[in-house]
């Protein structure tokens, strides 16, 4: 039986973004019932017990995060909805916001009721103009229908949602960078602790959640814990710290496939199945050489590398919260899968990756600001055919030293900059060494447009 989508169930319907259509499909019945029958603590308990982990990249258990808010706080408490979605090759939040904004907005209502927040700031990256307008008209419909504002549906619950547009900076996706940006400052991530739950937006307790996480909240409160737990992968019994990978997930497929698309599947589909069955296979009848399994920060998989004691290769890893980590990648990330065919140079791929992080480092921490710059300079040298033997070890060394994990930076952008470098060079060292030896130039080496920055 093919999996029947839930989060994406409505996206191909005509007028899927309108309140009327959402209501006709049972929309807002859940929040109406919850406001009547449940206490905020019941909502937190249900989300916590479902095992929902954040979809924004870090995979932190959602309900647990909500319990970190101070008890009996006089308020205000804020929810920040993270729709900065700038991790390269990721676009699932965009589809939810453009095509079914009310599903996300109902999730915001439920979350705010649970955490006793009367105000949600919805931070949308500037590049998502269509998503922004779709949300704007949906929010207006909600006010007109009494679903936002004071004393919603006679329940005594008040809520306002403020839509806020970014201005083209990746770092605004980091939760404290987002908060600083919302406050009207440069988006410099904050040193933690204090975490936002204790001191967040406007120095008040704040929860930051991703758009897809909130769409899952709507479905968990509608369909229940058992439904959510019937999908995905239970915790690894050999790993006491694994919280499992339950529920459906939106996977986006991009790059060298016949049919780039966003699909919803139970957590744990393999890279191979995703590409071959859902992405229409590698384009032009070619083979996959490498895959980026979850946004550039996660690093690279080598498709023909055998897994230990098995006939399978890295192409067969499952995309749950643990899968990519087993082959040296940082994690599941945003579950955005980008395929690189066998006629593409890994040097060009890595240079492109380094170009992104050097451009987006906020510059606050020296190892990140300088390290991303060096990595770009060195990979640029490699693609010009001027690489030196020692360059590869320098790249790995820089990659190993920058980030919150080695403890040299404030935020995870630097870890995300290091991981693709380490994984690409460790896994494709043969190709990098051959290029250095032969002095071969990239086909893009002369392209001024890109080299200039």
């Amino acid at each position: 039986m093919p999996y029947e989508p839930v989060l994406l169930a409505r996206i191909n319907k005509p007028d899927s973004g309108r309140l009327e259509g959402y209501r006709a499909d049972g929309g807002y019945a859940t929040v109406e019932r919850v406001l009547k029958e449940k206490k905020p603590a019941d909502v937190i308990a249900q989300v916590k017990d479902s095992g929902l982990r954040g979809r924004g990249g870090a995979g932190f258990p959602c309900g647990l995060k909500w319990t970190f808010l101070p008890k009996d706080h006089p308020g205000p408490i804020y929810l920040c909805v993270n729709a900065d979605e700038s991790e390269p090759c990721t676009y699932n939040n965009r589809i939810l916001m453009e095509k079914d904004p009310h599903q996300v907005l109902e999730g915001i209502m439920l979350a705010c009721y649970a955490i006793k927040s009367q105000k949600a700031f919805f931070y949308v990256r500037y590049e998502y103009g269509d998503a922004f307008r779709s949300l704007e008209s949906a929010v207006n419909e909600m006010y007109a229908a009494g679903l936002l504002g004071k004393n919603i549906l006679g329940s005594g619950f008040d809520l306002d949602i403020v839509l806020h547009r970014g201005a083209g900076a990746y770092i605004c996706g980091e939760e404290t960078g987002l908060i600083e940006s919302l406050e009207g400052k440069r988006a410099w991530p904050r040193i933690k602790p204090p975490f936002p739950a204790i001191e967040g937006a406007f120095r008040k307790p704040t929860i930051v959640n991703n758009v897809e996480t909130l769409a899952c909240v709507t479905q968990i409160m509608t369909r229940g814990i058992d439904w959510f737990k019937s999908l995905g992968v239970p915790p690894d019994p050999k790993n006491p710290r694994d919280a499992g990978s339950y529920g459906p997930k939106l996977y986006t497929i991009a790059g060298h496939v016949e049919k780039p698309c966003c699909v919803e599947l139970p957590m744990g589909v393999t890279v191979r199945d995703l590409v071959e069955k859902h992405g229409g296979g590698v384009w032009k009848g070619r083979k996959a050489k490498s895959v980026n399994p979850g946004g550039l920060s996660m690093g690279y998989v080598r498709c023909d590398a055998k897994l230990k004691d098995s006939d399978l290769t890295e192409y067969d890893i499952p995309l749950d919260f643990n899968g990519p980590g087993k082959v040296g990648c940082l994690g599941l990330g945003t579950a955005a899968v980008t395929v690189i065919d066998d006629q593409t140079s890994m040097i060009d791929v890595l240079h492109n990756t380094c170009q992104f992080f050097a451009h987006e480092s906020c510059g606050q921490c020296t190892p990140c600001r300088e390290g991303t710059g060096w990595m770009l300079k060195i990979t640029d040298r490699l693609r010009r055919g001027l690489g030196r033997k020692e360059d590869l070890d320098i790249l790995i060394d820089v990659g190993d030293r920058i980030g919150i994990m080695p403890g040299t930076t404030i935020c995870g952008l630097a870890d995300g900059a290091g991981w693709p470098v380490k994984t690409a060079i460790r896994k494709f060292r043969d190709e990098f060494e051959a290029a250095i030896k032969s002095g071969a130039k990239s086909k893009y080496a002369k392209s001024l447009a890109v080299a200039a920055h």
Partner: protein
Amino acid sequence: MPALSPELREKIKAYIPKYPRKQAVTLPALHLVHDELRTVSNEAIVEIAEILELHPSEVHDTMTFYAFFKGEGEKLGTTRLWVCRGLACMLRGAYELIEHCEGKLGVHCGQTTADGKITLEFAECIGACDGAPACLVNDKHAMNITPEKADALIQELKLK
């Protein structure tokens, strides 16, 4: 003559009640001014700061963090055309597309055509990778942009 019209001031002020602090209106204000005047001049910064009860240097500091805004002495064309250079787009021809557009428009990324119609920019991933190579026309996605489609798009924008 003030840089901001009374209408623009009212639009900025309308954002103030939405936030617990006036400084949070900085980005909305910059967007309003930038959209309408195609630049945020030093004078406009001073006037925004007055409305939000900030020092102009605070507004300037925030504005310049986001390379997005054009400041004193720079001006956007009628349309801002961004070509994505992110990985998914690169894999499907983005670098060639950037070169093509630069050639066609006779400007480098970051520059505006002499007739003031189009400002060309490169962008990091714009989240339209299912339509790579992708462009952003002001804030709307244009997907699967071949050189021919780019030419047609440019022709259309030249008429605006």
